[in-house]
Symmetry: C2
Subunit: 297 residues, 2 copies
DNA sequence: CAAGTTCATGATTAAAACTCATGATATCTT
DNA sequence: AAGATATCATGAGTTTTAATCATGAACTTG
């Protein structure tokens, strides 16, 4: 329900009013808007005449807001902000690019995604990615974010999900510990301290089950909150870690970590690219999706 | 974060664009806005040039929206709607009146409030009250309502509450049934059919407790959902009702109902006037609050 | 083929927005 | 007390924007 054209105030009047309300001064509003004080004075007076309601009280060349003015200023500000945001969004279609505000999981982001971003940037120089860290799912309508990387089940209301990869976890250990503990068979791991990660409490149990071994006699090693810490502890020889393989590609390549028993197991959960339905045609979102799915193929 | 004045499109351009998007036609948009087709054509073209993005595809004197145009139209429409609503709200301050959208409980509304509204209207002819029925608390930010009458505890997030009155309940019965059943003492009510109201299931138990009687031997009478029905059934001689006194003032005055045992009991809950914090200075809200608290004093 | 429809555009007019300068009045500093 | 500074209001004039009318080009329909 829009007001008829003749009953909607002009943008000039609305901007003059909103700035004056914020500054409680026509002169400072004029400075901000690069207009003359006289122009502001007239626009506000014209608006008050149109509405039939005083928006400011004038006392001795000073102004203060009326209750009507206060309420109106807030509402006008909100609407003007939305127009600005909408206009910037439209402009973002221009270069078929713009910015992509992406929420990432800390370890996946740093170990897998960010090292690959140069490739994306080379292929899409018009898109800038801003990274934010999010551990848990969130409401896209309440966050200034365009997309997210999510680990878990494909459940996220109002969003589109694309599966990126599963999670294959595998035991890794420093070579010196392998020699010290003479590890060559699965049952040898029952004699080794086993490092744990807090969000994967059943990883070791599942691994030993898969080898047909009873894990109850396994040695409990230190526990950590993040995979990055687990990997560091393993490199330091504190024990055997069980982690997603992609997270330790570097350490395996350099030899500071090795796979003592090459028996990976597959998690039932997976990594997903998620974005709100209404942002699916944003050029930046489309470009990133296409590139990311290629990387995971 | 408003765009600089020079980077925000004019209202003329935005309205021309939004109407064209809705009608998928410059000509029909022109008719709606009482402008010439040429003016619309130019404003849209000017907007596209400013943004650097095509908003419409032109094929053989026909237009269709681009993805950018579709998204922008929705956002512009929302912002324009907000400006319209804000402007109407501001105008509502003019007569220091306007309309008050009030949510009321059915029986309280019809039996107590509405009969008193003529007095309010006489004192405040500039305010029009629109009544809506609401049984349960609701979210003011999701309903087009300015205030509500609420029964219960003083709990309503984000709102201001003013206590109006408690609830005193009392047995009432038709005089003919009093004669027929020879009712003169509290225990005589154990021999009478007792009418029940669904939202006050413990009313009779509490009343007999207050008289030091065991209600277990009381005769179960018909049950009803609304107090208005309970009162009607009592007038018809179906049994003894226990209701808030103010709801049957009329029937008591006319003699169709009488109070057999004048032992009222007080409820711990009460009636409240509720309105959202941000609407407290609305002239209509202020006038109604002031008047209503006077009525309940 | 003729008539009707629709978006684009040239030339012109009307309306809105804005500036500069000044007036009136108040406060602050010396 | 005098002078400097600050602030909103307003007259007169200039610039910019919005809009109209008429026409062109191209398409559809009867």
């Amino acid at each position: 329900m829009n007001l008829p054209r003749s009953l909607l105030p002009s943008l000039s009047a609305l901007q003059a009013f909103e700035a004056s309300a914020r500054h409680v001064s026509f002169t400072r509003a004029a400075e901000e808007l690069n207009l003359s004080q006289g122009a502001i004075s007239r626009q506000v007076a014209s608006l008050e005449e149109m509405l039939g309601v005083p928006l400011f009280v004038r006392v001795r060349q000073r102004i203060s807001l009326t209750p009507a003015g206060t309420a109106y200023a807030e509402e006008v500000r909100d609407a003007l902000n939305r127009l600005s945001a909408a206009t910037l969004n439209a402009v973002a279609f221009k270069g078929a690019g713009g910015t992509l505000a992406l929420a990432i999981l800390p370890t996946f982001g740093t170990r897998w995604l960010i090292p690959r971003v140069p490739d994306f940037s080379q292929k899409h120089p018009e898109v800038t990615i801003n990274f934010s860290t999010r551990i848990l799912p969130f409401d896209f309508s309440r966050e200034p974010l365009d997309a997210a990387i999510h680990f878990g089940d494909p459940v996220w209301p109002g969003a589109v999900l694309h599966r990126l990869m599963g999670e294959t976890i595998i035991p890794v250990v420093s070579p010196t510990l392998v020699d010290r503990l003479q590890i060559s068979k699965p049952e040898d791991l029952l004699r080794a301290p086993l490092l744990k990660q807090a969000t994967r409490p059943r990883a070791w149990a599942e691994w030993f089950n898969a080898q047909g071994l009873d894990h109850k006699d396994a040695i409990q090693g230190p526990g950590f909150e993040q995979f990055a810490m687990v990997a560091k502890a393993a490199v330091a020889g504190l024990g055997v870690a069980i982690v997603p393989r992609f997270l330790v590609e570097e350490e395996l390549s350099s030899g500071v970590l090795t796979i003592p028993i090459n028996q990976p197991i597959e998690s039932e959960q997976a990594y997903w690219l998620v974005y709100p339905e209404e942002k699916k045609d944003r050029p930046a979102v489309r470009a990133f999706r296409s590139w990311l799915l290629d990387q995971c193929a």
